[in-house]
Structure formats: structure tokens, C-alpha cells
Amino acid sequence: MNLFLLLIVIFPLAGFLVNGLGRNFLGKRFIAFNACGQILASFVFSIIAFLTVKENGGQVINYFDFINVGSLKIPFEFQIDQLSSIFLLIITGVGFLIHVYSTGYMKEESHEHYGRYFSYLNLFVFSMLMLVLGGNFVIMFIGWEGVGLCSYLLIGFWFKKQEYNKAANKAFIMNRIGDLAFLIAIFYLIARVGSVSFSEIFSAASLAKLQATDATIITLLLFVGATGKSAQIPLYTWLPDAMAGPTPVSALIHAATMVTAGIYMIARSNLLYNLAPVTMDIVAYVGLATALLAATIALKQNDIKKVLAYSTVSQLGFMFLALGCGAYTAAVFHVMTHAFFKALLFLGSGSVIHAMGGKQDIRNMGGLSKKLKITFLTFVIGCIAIAGIPPFSGFFSKDAILLSAFEKNPVLYGIALFTALLTAFYMFRLLFITFSGKFRGTQEQEHHVHESPVSMTIPLIILALLSIIGGFVGIPEVFMHGGDQLGEFLSPVIKQHGEHTVSHSTEYMLMGLSSGLVIAMIIFAWFKFRNYQRKEATGFGKVLENKWYVDEMYDMIIVNPLNKFGGFLKSVIEKSVIDDLVNGVGRLVNYGSRQMRLLQSGQVGNYVLLMVVSMVLIFAIQFFLRK
């Protein structure tokens, strides 16, 4: 078993090394084969791991002492259990599909960039696996920063464009802010519990000796870390910019896997969170706020990937809402389904962009449904799934979340539902503007438009299927007893936050309500955008189009002042104050020297006079002042 786990991690690493070192002389075909093969291999082993876990529970494997200082012991350990095995499947599975897709998508790249791309992608999978397999917070942190690095590298993949690089830096730095909180949380745990291993921290004993305040502080810090990685308020602004990267990257990192690391972390430490109700509330509110904010912004975006990006932020908000309401299973469930349909949507949009020759502005598209049949169909499926229409996967997971929100507080439910409706609205706006109506682009674009190659469409189809059936692992009790296999499966690692209190009738009612309203929304969108004509946004729409001016606000409040202050320090404090102080001493000595010279007047009379005067003084001191 422990060898399997190691192999799961090592395959992508090997892929990274081979492609990275050999990118100059290896052929594209080999590179592609190597990259996909490695991921496929680790996918196979992940399945094995999953089955073993299903058979006989999770286990912790300790490989060697990473850091072992005095009382502090940080082993290099992996923990395989229900939660991590699910994530293993998602990561390697979706990852594999996206690798395959990429082979087609990145064909035009020159082959050392091709190799670079796949090595980064493998490296990402490697770090993501480290993250989920890590048996303690430090190993998790290693993966945590590793995925941050890979997202940095891949966002800035086309490093000729400086704004891409800026976006990459932004992503990395914002993640760093979150990571700092994460680190401090780890230190707090070391100080209070004396260990970083999950197995010890989440043991009843250590949980018992943890005061409520400490638990609150730690969980809050962890949550801040999560906001950084999973793009929640206030650290979400990097994710939309991250769309600068190649589209498969957006699909893999910024939709399916990396951004869900925060959810994984919190789900992983659910026992800790259960001790801190305050944090739970905060998580719920922040999640919901993010969901709403992102949804509103998504309403007015015209870049196909930006829309998806904001919808991702919004969906992540939903997941945090679920976490905040204690419905960890629902959150994980939504992570899974979201991985399917959001990856699908991104890849679909990628196929669209591919067809449009790199153009991303939906206002110049339209009527593509005839040209890109498969893409269109899969995209529709994706939209339905995300909108949450039964029996597509999105419905089940989102419904679970809404339900838990309702249990916590009907108001939350109301807002969440509203957000869900917005989601449906802007997704179908996107769909209709892109595919229906008539083509609004230029002539040669129209000629250029064509269906993507097989290597890209196959993954689309597979993902589409998954987004259709993916929901059936978590069918609610009301429909079918024991339908919630996922919940069953996860129950050993996740203590549900209390049982369902809602009566079946209300539950039916709520489902009906949400589905009905969603469908209404879709129809409304159909009439609104069936044949869309571009017009400038005005008033409130403009605010939304400019994302509530949040970026500008951050610049104004934090970035520019820091810059100015740095300049001030550099040019004023450093130069004029500190350094001049130092040099001033030297100047003082020089000046003193120039004055002292004058004492040496060259006149014998003055010399004798000075001598006599000093004699008189010393005599006076000796005979009259000293007693």
C-alpha cells in the first residue's frame, strides 16, 4: 500500500522531470504520451487505493523524518482515507482528461514550450496529490505552496505578455497572504497541541484539551488560508485574472482541483471546526457573500472565460456556505460535481476559443451551434448541470447545500437560492450569446471556425457524461433510502453536524421551488439573449462590468500606498536620514579637526600661555576643588 501511494505521487513527478529536462530534444508525440501516461498510471493506482480504502479503511504511512527538532516532530507521512481517496480520483481522473485535451489544444506551441507546458502540468498534479495525501499540515502545506507555484508558472506560461506575468504574480502573492495565515495556524497548533499530524490533532484527546478560543483562532486562520487558495472574499480577485493561462489550465487548476484545496482542508479538519461555531458562521457568511458577489459580476462579463471564472468563484462560495453550515459531505459532493461540469464548461469554452483563433469576447461570437456541434451539446449539458436541473449532477449537490443552508437559517437559504438563480441566468446568457443568434465576428473568423480535433472532443464527451450521472452517488434520502453513498462512504472521516431536521414535505417543496425558478430563469434568458445585439453597459451594469471596482479599490488602499512608502523609504529615509547620520559623524570629525588645528597657532607665547593656564587649572582643582 505505502508503495502504491508513493507511486501515485511519483508518476507525475517523473513525468515532470522527463518532460522538463528533455523538452528540447524529445518529440511532441513522446512528450504528450509521457505526460498523459504518467497521469493515467497514477489514476490507475488511485483507483486501487480507493478500493483498498473502501475495503479496509484509511491508514497513515510514515516515510521518514522531515523535521525532527526537540519536541517538535514532523514526519514525512501520507494519509490515505475516504476523503483523500475521493480527491485522488477527481484529481487524477479529471487531470488525465485535461491532459489528453491539452495535447490537442497546445499543438501549435513550439515543442520546448510544449514540453514545458506538460512538465508544469505534471508538476501541478504532483503537488496537488501531495496536498491531498499529506498526513500532516506541513506536508499539506508543501503541496499547498506547490500548487500555488504551478498556477503561477502556468498563468504566466506565455511569458512574453507582461500582463499575463502580472496576473501570475498577483495570484502567487495573494496566495502567499493566505499561506501566511495557514502557517501561523500551524504554529498555533504546534504551540497548543504539540503536533501537526492529523492523526494526533484530530484525536479525541487533543481535541478535548483544546480551548474554544484557541479552536476559533486556529480555524479562522486556516479559513483565511483557504480564502487565499479558494478565491473567497477578500482574496478572490486573482482568480479571474488567472484566466490569462491556457484554457486547459484554467479547467484543471482554477476550476476542478486547486481552488478546491481550501474546501479539502476545511473538510479535513471538520472536527476542529465543529469546536468553533463562530468560525462556522463566518465561513458560511463569507462563502455566501462571495457567491452572490461573484454571481452579480458574472452577469455582465463579456469574456467567455471571465464568466466561467466568476461562476467558479461563486460555486466555491456555495461550497464554503455548505462547510459553514456543517454540511461537509455536501461541500465535497459539490466539489466533485463542480469538477466535472466546470471542467467541461472550461474545456468547451477552450474549444470555442480554439475555433475562434484565440478570441474570447462573446460579443463577437454567436451562432456557433451549427459549426461546433459536439462542443455545443456538451456545453449545454454543462450549463444545465451547473444551473441545477434534475437529474443532472449539479442539482443534487447544490440542493444538498441549499438544504443545509435552510436548516441553518432560512434567510441564508433565500440568498443562496437567489444566487443559484443568477447562476442559471448568466450561464445561459453565456450559452445563448455564444451559440445562438447569428455570427457577429469578422469574415475570416467565420471561415476559420471549425470543430476541434478528437483529442479535445473525447474528453468533452466523457466529462459531459460524468456531469450527467455524477450526481447519482449522492441521492438524497427522500428519493431513495441509502442513496447517499458518498455520505456513507465519507462518514468515517466526516462527522455530520447534526441530523436532518427538515421534514420530507418541506424538502420536496424546496426542491420544487428551486428547480421551477431555475427553469423560469432559463426561459427568461432565452428570450433576452436569443439574438443578442451588443450595447454598452450603463449605470449599475457598468459597475458590474467593472467588477464593483474591487481591484481598483485594492490598488488604491494597499498597493499604491505601499509603493509610495517604499519609494519614500528608499529616497528619503535611507539616503537622507540614516546614511547622512552615518556620514555626518565623519564630517563632524573633519570639522573638529579643522578647528583643532587652529589651536596650534605657531606662536611660542600662546603655547606657554596655554600651558600656564592649564597648570593653574590643575593646581586649582587639586588644592581647592578636591576634598
Partner: protein
């Protein structure tokens, strides 16, 4: 005793050699041979064989301390002559007499390093001073030299007057001139006569040792005198004066330390301050060295302040280190055309060996480790710090040492890092070079194994 009498005889011999021998070389070699002889007999006395047994009635006593210092002085003089004897001949026609005077001065030095009676101290100081007045003025055509010698003479005579007054008052209080019986008299409250006399002696000795505020003659005289003789009086003579200084105050007034320690502290601080600070702005290396000699005097004063075993050992080490380094620098300086700092620009390019040795000497003066200069300064500081932790004086001293680095390194910078053609047309005899190298080696050796020197005190 050997050295005392022999030096007097040699003085006379040199006097007549001017008439008998015609070639400069022979006179020079005679002088060098004389010094070697002097060194030899001094070693003999150190090893216990006294050639002349004369009852001095406890007025003179040659103990290991004085003998060791004598040999330091003789060694320095030997090196001095080896390096600069030719340049002595350049000063004037009657060069034999210069050598004679130097030997007379050495005679005076043996007296000041070994006196037991104030009378001998007085005579010794005078025997040192009077020839120095002459040597200072020996460059007769040069107005600066004249001026220097007249200034030196007037101020020196004045300080002699002070010293005599002090001796007289002490005699009045004690009824004797013997330092031992003065020191033996340990009354609770010393009489005002004694204190006044002691202070007057302090002043006059401070004058001879160029301690502020009695230092004013030093820069002018050192600057005006012919550089060869500046080298001599800035090193060997000054060292001798300090030995006399510490001998006097240790022997006669050791018991009354609390009476004068404060003043020594004040004078020390003043000397360190004036010497170092004023040296910073000098333009001529020669004058800078004059001020640096004041600064170094300030450091030597620390030994008087502390007045313990460390202090005495340290003072011997200091005199050796300081004399060696300064003689070396002057020997190079004499060769230079102009004495300004810029006069050294690019010296290293044309005279790498001289530059390297000069650098070592400068480092030693600045008190950089691995040179004798560091250890001697270290001894001084150690003596002071051990001495009921006089922290502030130590801190002040090191601050001033840091300042001293400034002006010493200006020379190094000029030699190595500035463009110029100093020493381009200089032809240097290999003998000179090798002597310099040996001297530098000596400086470093003493900087690593001070025991080589100090162990002579105990055997």
C-alpha cells in the same frame, strides 16, 4: 652601567672620528659597530656580567626593566642607523658630530631608564634635550629648522624650570632626592609641598613626552627638524621619556596614586583627543606622523594611569612596537620627494616592497591584529580595564583608535588605490629593502608572540 659608560666613550670616539677618518662610510660603519657593541655589552649585563663596578650610591640602578628597555632602544637605534645613516650624512657637513650627539643622547637614555635619584633624572633629561636642540637646528640654512630648534629650546628650557621647581619643592618636603626614600615615605596626608612638586614634575614630564596640553612644541618641532632626526626623537627619545615617566611615578609616587590618577586620566583623554582629531585634517604625512606620535603618547599614558604589571610590560611592548613601526615609516618617508599624502599616490605600483612594508607599519600603528601595534594597544586597554574597570577611558581610547585608522589608511589608499608616479625615480639599495623586510617581520612576530620580548623581564 656598561651601556652608560660605553655610550659616553663612543660619543667621544665619534667626535674625534670626524677629524681622524675622512670617508663617510667608515664613520657610518664605526657608528653602527658602536651600536652593536653597545647592544652586546647591554646583553652581557642582562646576563649578569658587569664590566665596570662603580658604586653609584643608589643614584642609578640597572634592573631588568631598564636593561630591557635599553636594549629595545639600542635595537631601534641600530635599525634606525641601518636604514637612515646615509640620510644623516646628507643633513650637514659635520656628520660625525651628529653621530656623536646621538651617542650622547643614548647615554642620557640609559640614565633616564635607570635613575634612582631626581638629580640623575634631571641630568639625563638634560643630556637628552640639549643635543636634540642641536639636531633639530642642524639644517642651518633651513629657516623651518632654525625656528623649530629655537621653539624647542625656549619651551624645553621653560619646562626644565618647572621640573627644577618641582624637584625643589619635593626636596623641601622630603629632604632627599632619592626616589626610593620618597616612595618609602607613606604618610596618610601628603604635604602640599610634595603634591605641588609632584604636579610640577608631572607637567614637565608631560611636556617632554608631548602630552596635551603640553604638546604644542611637538608638531612644530617634528615638522621643522630634518626628517632623519624627527624619526629619532619621535621614537627612541619619546620612548625613553615615557620609561622615565613611569619609573618616576611608580617609584616615588606609586603610593599617592589617588592624588594624581585623575589628572593623568584627564591628560590622557586630552592627548588622545587632540592628537587623533588634529591629525585627521593634516596634508603632510610628516606632520600627520607628528600628531600621530602625540596620539600614540596618549595610549602610552594609559599605562601610567593603570600602573600595574600589565601596564609596565605593555609599555615596553608599546615602545618597541611604536619605535619599530615609526622608524620604518620615516625611513621610507625620507626617500620621498614631497611629504603630502598625494606624494604617495601610486607608490605601490613602482615600489611594491616598500609599499607593502609601509602598509604593515601603518597597520601596526593603527592597531590592527597580527601586528605588534595591536598587542601593545591591547595590553594598555587590558591594564586599564583590569584596573577597577575604568570603562569610559577604554571606550574613549578605542573610539580615538578608530579615528586614527582614518588618517593612517589615507596613506595606504594613496599608495595602493590612487593613480600616480610616486617613487618612480627612486633607486633603493637592496640592503635597505632587506632591513625593511626584517623590520616588518619583527613587527608581525611581536604581534603574534609578544613573549619573545616580554619574557626577558623574568629570568
Amino acid at each position: 652601567m656598561n651601556a652608560l659608560i660605553l655610550s659616553a666613550i663612543l660619543g667621544v670616539v665619534m667626535m674625534f672620528s670626524g677629524i681622524l677618518l675622512k670617508s663617510k662610510a667608515m664613520i657610518r660603519n664605526l657608528a653602527i659597530g658602536g651600536i652593536v657593541l653597545l647592544l652586546l655589552v647591554n646583553f652581557l649585563e642582562m646576563s649578569g656580567t658587569v664590566l665596570f663596578r662603580i658604586d653609584t650610591k643608589e643614584m642609578i640602578a640597572f634592573d631588568s626593566f631598564s636593561l630591557l628597555f635599553n636594549s629595545i632602544a639600542f635595537v631601534s637605534t641600530l635599525i634606525y642607523l641601518l636604514l637612515s645613516a646615509r640620510d644623516i650624512e646628507k643633513v650637514g657637513v659635520n656628520y660625525a658630530d651628529y653621530f656623536a650627539l646621538i651617542f650622547f643622547i643614548l647615554c642620557g637614555i640609559t640614565l633616564t631608564s635607570s635613575f634612582k635619584s631626581l638629580l640623575i633624572l634631571f641630568l639625563g633629561i638634560e643630556i637628552i634635550s640639549i643635543p636634540l636642540y642641536i639636531l633639530t637646528g642642524s639644517d642651518k640654512r633651513n629657516l623651518k629648522s632654525n625656528e623649530a630648534s629655537l621653539k624647542y629650546f625656549l619651551l624645553g628650557a621653560f619646562s626644565t624650570g618647572l621640573m627644577l621647581m618641582g624637584i625643589a619643592l619635593i626636596y623641601g618636603a622630603m629632604g632627599t632626592f632619592s626616589t626610593d626614600s620618597i616612595g618609602a615615605f607613606t604618610e596618610t596626608k601628603p604635604s602640599a609641598l610634595l603634591i605641588a612638586g609632584m604636579l610640577l614634575l608631572l607637567f614637565s614630564m608631560s611636556f617632554k613626552a608631548s602630552v596635551a596640553p603640553f604638546h604644542f612644541w611637538t608638531p612644530d618641532v617634528y615638522d621643522g627638524a630634518p626628517t632623519v632626526f624627527t624619526s629619532f626623537m619621535a621614537t627612541i627619545v619619546k620612548a625613553a621619556v615615557f620609561i622615565a615617566f613611569i619609573r618616576l611615578f611608580d617609584g616615588s609616587f606609586g603610593f599617592r596614586q589617588n592624588q594624581w590618577q585623575l589628572f593623568i586620566a584627564i591628560l590622557t583623554a586630552a592627548t588622545l583627543f587632540i592628537g587623533n582629531i588634529t591629525a585627521v585634517f593634516q596634508q603632510s604625512v610628516k606632520r600627520m606622523l607628528a600628531y600621530s606620535s602625540i596620539a600614540q603618547a596618549g595610549f602610552m599614558m594609559l599605562s601610567l594611569f593603570a600602573m600595574n604589571t600589565d601596564a609596565k610590560e605593555g609599555l615596553l611592548l608599546y615602545t618597541a612596537a611604536y619605535s619599530f613601526a615609526t622608524i620604518g615609516i620615516f625611513a621610507v618617508l625620507i626617500k620621498m620627494k614631497d611629504f603630502t599624502f598625494d606624494g604617495f599616490n601610486g607608490f605601490a605600483k613602482h615600489q611594491p616592497l616598500l609599499a607593502a612594508t609601509t602598509t604593515i607599519f601603518l597597520l601596526s600603528l593603527a592597531g590592527i591584529p597580527l601586528t605588534a601595534g595591536f598587542l601593545s594597544k591591547f595590553y594598555m586597554l587590558k591594564a586599564v580595564m583590569i584596573n577597577d574597570k575604568n570603562l569610559w577611558l577604554g571606550i574613549f581610547a578605542v573610539l580615538m583608535a578608530a579615528v586614527s585608522v582614518y588618517y593612517y589608511f589615507r596613506v595606504i589608499q594613496a599608495m595602493y588605490f590612487k593613480e600616480g608616479n610616486a617613487g618612480q625615480t627612486l633607486e633603493i639599495s637592496p640592503a635597505f629593502k632587506w632591513t625593511l623586510v626584517l623590520l616588518a617581520a619583527l613587527v608581525i612576530l611581536l604581534g603574534i608572540f609578544p613573549g619573545l620580548l616580554l619574557n626577558w623581564l623574568y629570568f
